[in-house]
Amino acid sequence: MIFTLAWREIRSMFLSPLAWVILGVVQALMGWLFLNHVDNYMSIQSRLLSMQTPIGLTDIVVASVFGNAAIILLLVVPLITMRLVSEERRNRTLTLLYSAPLSMTEIILGKYLGILFFLLVVLFLVALMPLSLLAGGSLDFGAFASGFLGLALLLASFAAVGLFMSTLTQNPTIAAVSTFGMLLLSWVLDTGGQGASGNVLAYFSLLNHYEPFLKGVFDSADAVFYILLITTFLVLSTRRLDADRLGG
């Protein structure tokens, strides 16, 4: 049942131009940045070789590409998640789901899975760029996998936040703006505040937990942080849908 809903999300996305435009724009931007990083690597390659512990292709190009992708997708994900629930609420099609023999959890999970699939497509397209370097060199696959996993978890968190914001309103634009605000805030959280309270705030910065993945460090605490965050927002979304039924 969850898959039926997920499949509908995916179909709807690809039936409208939005998904294609987003894929195209992200790919074009990432392509440009990727070429820049490769160029940069070429120019400093000779100096790198003379270093005692040389840092390689993976550290410079792959980490930078994944790092950039996180920022670009932070701007893009709200646009994909905004219509998930809000548009259905506005078009009154949510009634169809409420009247069907489905639980609220199934509705939320179905929609979330649909978005995850789309983000996975984005992720693969981004990952193809560093992989193309294999044609002329070699990569540190451990570090690559760690960065890939980190980006996947990060995107999944973005999507969960976006889904929740979409359940709050019936206006997709409001959902997009508030998701964008939340994500941006979580990015800049670590720049504000000093001392202990600053550290606590910084701990909640989504991107802070992403850094270690880029360096090739897989810390289960970071992974669990994302998973907890995702679960929290999915539960909140379910509660919010339930409140539709109960509230006045």
Binding site: M1, R8, R92, L94, T95, L96, S99, P101, R245
Partner: protein, 316 residues
């Protein structure tokens, strides 16, 4: 008996803040009946339907669908319901076939039976030729049909239609009436409307709701009996003392019309005609006309809903 009882609504209320949209409403619907739900705008028709279909939780009271409690076993209860809301819940980017297949999947129809279910729903709603058309390009009438097809695709025991004929042309309205009749043979149908002739032509049970309260709950036969003769229209050549008419057994009220005629309302089954004629002769009022008037559903509706309003105003 209990097998035939498909919808049980037991003293259900729904408040929006302080406003009681639905106030202590109870009724039951049996298999094979078409229940017409009448009421002025904002009376609570849609709210009641939303509660029966599980779109809105009642503030108090219980609802059972085919024996399943809507709160305790929502999934089993909802599987027995097909619901067409006021605005059909359509995905405009889908074709009719795709949409109906999705609805079939939502209602857990096994994959192998989906094609058959879709064909049958399309046939019943006159959509056989529209399968490959985009819903976004369909006219309002056709969208309404898709909405109905969606509600009956899983052959639910209870079909709930909120203003199914809104925005349709007369031919389509007639088709939908036939469809409702057809549906009622195997299902229970609840439909709301504010078009009164529709109720008389397609329902066999009528409920009138006003300001969240059920003010009438009767079968259409009982209703016609009630309507047949509860009013007499009289004309006299001399002046008349209406208070003496009102003292007659069974007479509820009298009213002087603009054209000089009197209308006498009486309780059903207590026809005062004989006594009235005698009274007129004894007092030399000069009875010239006596017509038993057949009240329409419209009169009844107006009387019931107006009555309530004056009462409400009196309490304020």
């Amino acid at each position: 008996m209990s097998n035939n009882l498909l919808v049980e609504v037991d003293s259900v209320s729904r408040y929006f803040g302080d406003l009681a949209a639905v106030n202590d409403v109870s009724f039951t619907v049996n298999k094979g009946t078409v229940l017409g739900f009448l009421g002025p705008n904002g009376a609570g028709k849609t709210t009641t339907m939303q509660m029966i279909t599980g779109n809105l939780a009642p503030t108090s009271g219980r609802i059972k669908i085919a024996g399943y409690d809507l709160l305790d076993e929502p999934r089993a209860a909802k599987a027995c319901i097909g619901y067409l809301p006021e605005q059909p819940p359509l995905y405009l980017e889908y074709t009719v076939d795709e949409y109906l297949d999705f609805c079939a999947a939502l209602n857990r129809i096994p994959k192998k039976q989906r094609l058959g279910a879709r064909q049958q729903a399309k046939e019943r709603c006159g959509l056989t030729d529209a399968g490959r058309r985009l819903i976004g390009n369909l006219s309002k009438g056709y969208r309404q049909r898709v909405g109905i097809a969606q509600a009956i695709i899983h052959q639910p025991q209870v079909v709930i239609l909120d203003e199914p004929t809104a925005g349709l042309d007369p031919i389509q309205i007639r088709e939908i009436r036939t469809l409702v009749r057809e549906l009622s043979q195997e299902h229970a149908v609840i439909l709301s409307t504010h078009i009164l002739p529709e109720v008389q032509s397609s329902c066999d049970h009528v409920q009138i709701i006003d300001r969240g309260k059920l003010v009438l709950n009767d079968s259409i036969d009982g209703l016609t009996q009630r309507m047949q003769s509860s009013t007499l229209s009289l004309r006299f050549s001399n002046s008349v003392d209406t208070s003496r008419i009102e003292q007659l057994n069974g007479v509820r009220s009298t009213r002087l019309l603009d054209d000089g005629r009197y209308q006498v309302y009486y309780q059903a089954g207590q026809d005062p005609t004989d006594a009235l004629v005698k009274l007129a002769v004894d007092n030399h009022w000069g009875l010239r006309e006596l017509i038993p008037e057949k009240a329409s559903l419209e009169d009844m509706f107006l009387e019931l809903t107006k009555h309530d309003k004056t009462q409400a105003e009196a309490t304020i």
